[in-house]
């Protein structure tokens, strides 16, 4: 908070002033440095300690809020987003114009009910939607950080969120909820700040990134770095963007978000706008066309370097390793209530990973619920219409709210 006390109450400090610097050459809002959302700025006097041993200062965290904070400040829920998500969990993205990425879960009358709870969602550290990341302007050079940005971890992301929550004057979060990489943050929150998390809902996630998942991420990063326009991460300064590499990375990743069955049901071997194969390398099959489309639209909204940083953060995540190799130690004496959710066909974050969390929580005598939801839609299921998931989260949050005395 550069302006010290003035912005400590900075929940209302929206970046509304579209100064010249906030708008780029083609008249678009500069979402990286001056996001359309709320943003909390921390000055040189408030550096963020990073797991890599360095400090980041100044730094900023972009966030959105929904609903209102009660007088006792006991009804705040933090939503943690996944790899390529953003703070617009329940409102229109200023970049894509699309609805919030979890509007079925978060909103008035939804399981995370914004009529009852004050919902906060922040862009992750290393992201490209307004929180400090490799695309942000480095105060030292006036140019984008690029690869001079220190590598960040899930722990760093959570530490930055804790600073935000503190700056908003909230002592204890009623709940922290998230899926995939968001679920990693939920676990990290519960382990690092047990007294600040009343309830935790890690969905479709794991206590560590598996070798297979690191492998997929490495393929994606190599695709980005193999793009001649990547320029060792310095593309922005040369007016270029490694869109081809990033699109390939997204295509490969997208396959891991779906199940064999969902691909089969959605596309099968259907041909794309043609009745016969063409004996060429055009997108003959619908699945090819679909993946190309996914890749192409992704590059319009995501920064390539940011993709490297955020995937790396997931790779480095290993909660047990942070606690002497024993996962149960991460949750010793925890009073947090947990609701762990997995999906049957999720092979990226399979049920066995969630079960490892549940067993560790049981060994730590923690209060835990665990539901495996039958779905044929793979990892992506957590973002989709899964009524069982909604019933679970809503039932869990309701009983936790009762325990916290929020049901007045």
């Amino acid at each position: 908070m550069t302006d010290s006390a003035g912005t400590a109450t900075g929940a209302s400090e929206t970046e509304a002033t579209a100064t010249e610097s906030a708008v780029d050459a083609i008249g678009q809002q500069d979402e990286v440095n001056h996001p359309s959302s709320k943003v909390m700025r921390f000055g040189l006097d408030m550096p963020l300690k990073l797991d890599g041993g360095t400090e980041l200062a100044p730094w900023q965290i972009a966030y959105e809020t929904y609903g209102s904070l009660n007088e006792e400040k006991t009804n705040a829920i933090l939503i943690c987003h996944a790899l390529t998500g953003d703070q617009y969990v329940a409102s229109t993205s200023p970049v894509t114009g699309k609805p919030g990425w979890w509007e079925m879960m978060v909103g008035p009358g939804k399981p995370v009910d914004t009529d009852r709870f004050f919902v906060i969602c922040a862009n992750v550290l290393g992201g490209c939607m307004g929180t400090t990341g490799p695309a942000s302007t480095s105060p030292a050079t006036g140019e984008p950080y690029g690869l001079t940005m220190p590598v960040v971890t899930i722990g760093d992301m959570v530490r930055s969120q804790a600073k935000l929550v503190e700056a908003l004057g909230i002592e204890t979060l009623f709940a922290v909820v998230g899926g995939s990489m968001g679920g990693m943050q939920v676990l990290q929150w519960a382990a690092a700040y047990p007294e600040k998390v009343f309830a935790a809902v890690p969905i479709a996630t794991a206590p560590r990134h598996s070798s297979q998942n690191i492998a997929f991420h490495e393929v994606g990063r190599q695709a980005v770095m193999a793009d001649p326009d990547w320029l060792n991460g310095d593309y922005e300064r040369h007016g270029k963007r490694p869109t081809k590499g990033l699109a390939v990375a997204r295509m490969a990743a997208h396959i891991t978000y779906m199940s064999d069955m969902s691909l089969h049901n959605k596309f099968g071997r259907n041909l794309q706008n043609r009745s016969e194969i063409t004996f060429g390398f055009d997108a003959d099959f619908q699945i090819e066309s679909y993946l190309r489309h996914q890749g192409m639209t992704f590059v319009d909204r995501f920064d390539a370097n940011s993709y490297l940083y955020v995937t790396r953060a997931m790779d480095y995540f290993d909660l047990a390793a942070q606690h002497g190799g024993k996962l149960a130690n991460a949750f010793l004496h925890t009073k947090t209530r947990f609701c762990v959710v997995s999906f049957t066909t999720d092979w990226l974050f399979p049920t066995s990973e969630s079960k490892a969390v549940v067993q560790a929580l049981n060994a730590a005598a923690a209060n835990v619920s665990f539901v495996e939801i039958d779905s044929d839609r793979g990892h992506d299921a957590f973002l989709l219409n899964e009524p069982e998931m909604f019933a679970t989260v809503s039932g869990f949050l309701n009983s936790a709210a009762e325990a916290r005395g929020l049901n007045a």
Partner: protein
């Protein structure tokens, strides 16, 4: 771990509820089905209750009604729980559906300071009569499955259970046979009598 004996749930739940004498006790209900017993114990005894349930439908119902329940298998998942983690470990109408009842009993006695087990009594005279007269595996209101599609793979009689308790070094603190209506049989009788007329039984045990 659904309860496999319809119409008798309330009777054995009532009895189990009477056995939980410590208010605010930490209770683990293994095979908690849709959470009726847990919910009842939380409301009546203010227990700190947890459940384990095999069926997804059961777990989802429990969590949606606000209970702390995890999906798990009594045969596989009890080893993750710490010694003496609970004041009471309850196994109601589930023992007969486990693969290794003896090991499950040993785990229960390790996890719970006290253990409550309820099970259908295969030694009931009606079962004996069916086997004697028809020469077929008994199918009754209480044991409605045919032999080839039953989830109940390890039936025992009350006397068998008493023997198992000895074998796993458990002390029987209380035992009660229930009649067809799920009501306690109101007189003390030797095991062989209960073994003939009890439709089900509830035991309270602890490690010796």
């Amino acid at each position: 771990m659904n309860k496999h004996v319809p119409n008798t749930i309330r009777g054995d739940h009532r009895l189990i509820s009477d056995l939980i004498t410590k208010p605010g006790a930490r209770v683990l209900d293994i095979g908690c089905a849709n959470g009726d017993l847990l919910d009842h114990l939380i409301r009546s005894h203010n227990i700190d209750g947890r459940g384990v349930e095999l069926s997804q439908a059961g777990v989802n119902k429990c969590v949606a009604r606000g209970l702390s329940v995890v999906q798990g298998d009594a045969d596989l998942d009890l080893s993750a729980y710490p010694d003496d983690g609970f004041d009471y470990a309850i196994l109601s109408q589930t023992l007969q559906a486990t693969k290794d009842p003896k090991q499950v009993m040993q785990e229960l006695l390790r996890i719970g300071k006290k253990v409550v087990v309820s099970f259908p009594n295969f030694g009931h005279w009606r079962n004996r009569m069916q086997l004697l007269t028809k020469g077929r595996m008994p199918v009754t209101d209480y044991l409605p499955y045919t032999w080839y599609d039953t989830p109940n793979i390890h039936f025992c009689t009350i006397r068998d259970f008493v023997e198992l308790s000895k074998e796993v070094d458990a002390e029987v603190l209380k035992a009660q046979a229930l009649n067809a209506k799920g009501e306690p049989i109101g007189f003390n009788a030797p095991w062989w009598v209960w073994n003939l007329i009890g439709d089900q039984a509830v035991f309270l045990l602890k490690r010796k």
